[in-house]
């Protein structure tokens, strides 16, 4: 159980800045996901926390204690790697035993031939065996203990890697895209298992992924990274509904949020696709971008219209792709009721509620909105 604090962490590789001053506090016992596009520096940040990579400046504190210069093994963190990094020559049992043996046995006791003969060794081995049995029980890998990693499936290896991390009861778990080598179905399954494990252990989990679905479903908080900076930290709901930046809005959510061109007037009114919204803001006049999530688009009525160019029926829901004439724009709307699909090529009206709208200024920052009063002269966008 640990609180991890990062203050202005900077890191550069061969002159290119990979991390540009990360300030961030991970609370005790929380499950936090670091998400972001490939190459944004997530793994680097995780490795700095683990101590595998030194930062150029800034400080990492675990439970208030600075750990810079402390070896990875002494930080008492566990890490699960993308490739699992199991020792291929050791059995599952021995793989899980490594961290225990490294900690509990002295260097002399670990010697190949002499070690096992030493007096205290037997008792210690006994304790190790008991601990591993308990872990194997929890993770359901007891039948696999004799096998080598090469004889395990991807999901089983994954569990062994988690077991090796769990066995010594670390202060926090660090995961670097642990599910990305699994097939889609197993990934969903392991997602649930890991979330369940976190609930049981109540230990801090730091989880790196570039899969936003993983982050949304598992974590208590999400930290979105882009280009070496943390751009937003919040609960999954906050990140989804209240993104502070257009890049966050676009990264989170599948299918992607619809972005429509808009304009802010001098009086604070906002137009989208030429129609005014019943909204206002305090921003300066100029171009803006308006985001609407696919599930917030109401098909059938409204001030806008488009042609159905593509339909994706997933059974439980459907996505309607609309091309908007004149604007050269496409957007996606979610249809909950798949029994009444529009015909391909048909012309559909649509609109959206004013609270469904997220407005971003020309550099992508979120513009705070206030809902307009009824005495607006301009025509309302939608009922």
């Amino acid at each position: 159980m640990a609180q991890i604090e990062l203050s202005t962490i900077r890191k550069s590789f061969d002159g290119t800045d990979v991390l540009k001053g990360i300030d961030f506090r991970i609370e005790d016992g929380e499950f936090i996901s670091l998400v972001g596009p490939s190459g944004c520096g997530k793994s680097t940040l995780l490795r700095i926390i683990a101590g595998l990579e030194p930062q150029n400046s800034g400080q990492v504190r675990i439970d208030g204690r600075p750990v810079d210069g402390i070896r990875p093994s002494a930080r008492n963190l566990a890490m699960v790697f993308q490739s699992y990094a199991l020792y291929p020559h050791l059995s599952t049992f021995d793989n899980i035993a490594v961290p225990l043996r490294m900690r509990r046995l002295s260097a002399i006791e670990r010697l190949p031939l002499l070690g096992p003969l030493l007096p205290g060794r037997r008792a210690k081995e006994h304790g190790i065996r008991a601990d591993i049995a308990a872990i194997a029980e929890q993770l359901d890998i007891a039948p696999l203990l004799r096998r080598k990693p090469g004889q395990l499936s991807g999901g089983q290896r994954q569990r062994v890697a988690v077991g090796r991390a769990m066995v010594r009861e670390p202060l926090a778990f660090l995961f670097d895209e642990p599910l990305s080598n699994l097939d889609a179905k197993l990934r969903v399954h392991m997602r649930a298992e890991l979330a369940e494990l976190h609930r049981r252990l109540k230990t801090t989990f730091v989880y790196v992924t570039h899969d936003q679905a993983e982050a949304m479903t598992m974590s208590s908080r999400i930290a979105v990274m882009m280009g070496g900076e943390l751009i937003q930290v919040g609960t999954p709901a906050e990140i989804y509904n209240d993104p502070g930046d257009i890049r966050v809005a676009e990264f989170i959510g599948s299918p992607k949020i619809n972005i429509l061109p808009g304009r802010v007037w001098k009086d604070g009114g906002i137009d989208v696709l030429g129609s005014a919204l019943r909204l206002a803001c305090g921003a300066t006049a100029g171009e803006c971008r308006v985001g609407v999530r696919p599930e917030r688009i109401d098909l059938g009525a409204g001030p806008f219209s488009g042609n159905v160019v593509h339909l994706e029926n997933l059974g439980a829901e459907a996505f309607v792709h609309l091309a908007i004439e004149g604007a050269g724009l496409r957007l996606i709307a979610r249809l909950a009721d798949v029994r009444h699909l529009p015909a391909m090529g048909s012309h559909l009206a649509f609109g959206f509620a004013s609270d469904a709208v997220q407005v971003f200024d020309s550099i992508g920052k979120r513009i705070p909105l206030k809902v307009e009063q009824a005495e607006r002269v301009r025509e309302p966008a939608h009922v």
Partner: protein
């Protein structure tokens, strides 16, 4: 175009005709296959397999080059051989050479590879330097070594004298000559082993070291024991066997520098075989020595090919 023609043909021609054309096609290709392998097969028979059978057959005869007749004498050559003191000396010297050179060249090769890989600077420069002896014609370098080991004007004794240590007549002294040859053998083989070890080291996933680091293997030695050594296992056995085979074949340095002397102290199997077969032209007897040599080398080779199939299985 031809594609289209093919499909039309295939569609139009009834199955019977297709059956008729296919074997014809196949057999034309079979003929060319035989034509393609014929030179290789013939040469292999004449230059490899035939001579191999020949050397075994020859070892049961008393054939001497230039003699008009020969007769089958059964195991007499082997009996002579096993009764010959020189053969036993040669075998013992060969084994001594192998037992000294293999560990020396393997351990030094591994140590150098580890040292080179433990940093990033000047890697390729060091690799080039250590590999240089592998490239240089051994005979030429043996001649250089001979002068380096010259009792009076050589570099080695010069340095020893400079350090106030006793000097030796390395190649002329029966107690040191074989070990001097071993040193040359190690010097020449180290770079080769180093390159094989470097390739092995590069292929160890970096994440294993990081996992080891996190699991508490904080010293370099602990990481070597936990990751490097086991992961290099297959490479190491391979290098040991290859070095063994090459050491068994030692001949060049012996022939140029000592001719097996002084007083047979550097006599080795292939050198005995050479002297008997190509200086005294006792072909049958030399063939028997070859067979003994072959038994040792094939045993090692078989171990190697067994091991080569087995690697670390990891995905």
């Amino acid at each position: 175009m031809s594609d289209g023609a093919m499909t039309i043909d295939a569609a139009a021609v009834p199955a019977r005709a297709a059956r008729r054309t296919l074997p014809a096609h196949g057999s034309r290709r079979t003929y060319s296959a035989y034509a393609l392998v014929a030179p290789a097969a013939a040469l292999m028979l004449v230059m490899l397999l035939g001579p191999l059978a020949g050397v075994i057959a020859l070892s049961f005869t008393d054939y001497q080059l230039g003699a008009p007749h020969f007769s089958w004498i059964g195991l007499a050559n082997y009996q002579d051989l096993f009764a010959d003191k020189v053969f036993w000396i040669a075998l013992r010297n060969t084994l001594t050479y192998v037992v000294v050179v293999v560990p020396g060249a393997v351990i030094a090769g591994l140590a150098i590879a580890l040292l080179i890989q433990s940093g990033t600077s000047l890697r390729s420069l060091y690799r080039t330097i250590y590999f240089l002896p592998v490239m240089a014609t051994l005979i030429a370098m043996a001649v250089v070594w001979e002068f380096m080991l010259h009792p009076q004007f050589g570099l080695v004794n010069g340095l020893l004298r400079g350090a106030g240590l006793p000097a030796f007549a390395w190649l002329q002294d029966r107690s040191t000559a074989l070990y001097a040859l071993c040193a040359i053998g190690i010097w020449q083989a180290v770079g080769f082993n180093m390159v094989l070890f470097l390739a092995g080291l590069v292929s160890i996933p970096k994440q294993l070291y990081e996992a080891a680091e996190i699991d508490g293997a904080s010293s370099g030695w602990a990481r070597f024991r936990l990751v490097t050594w086991p992961m290099l296992g297959p490479v190491t056995t391979f290098v040991v066997v290859v070095s063994g085979i090459r050491s068994f074949q030692v001949f060049d340095t012996v022939h140029v520098l000592t001719k097996g002397g002084p007083s047979k102290s550097t006599e080795v199997l292939i050198h005995t075989m050479y002297t008997e077969g190509f200086e005294f032209f006792r072909s049958g007897y030399a063939a028997a020595i070859t067979v003994v040599f072959l038994v040792f080398v094939l045993a090692l080779t078989l171990i190697k090919s067994r091991l080569a199939d087995r690697g670390v299985h990891y995905t």
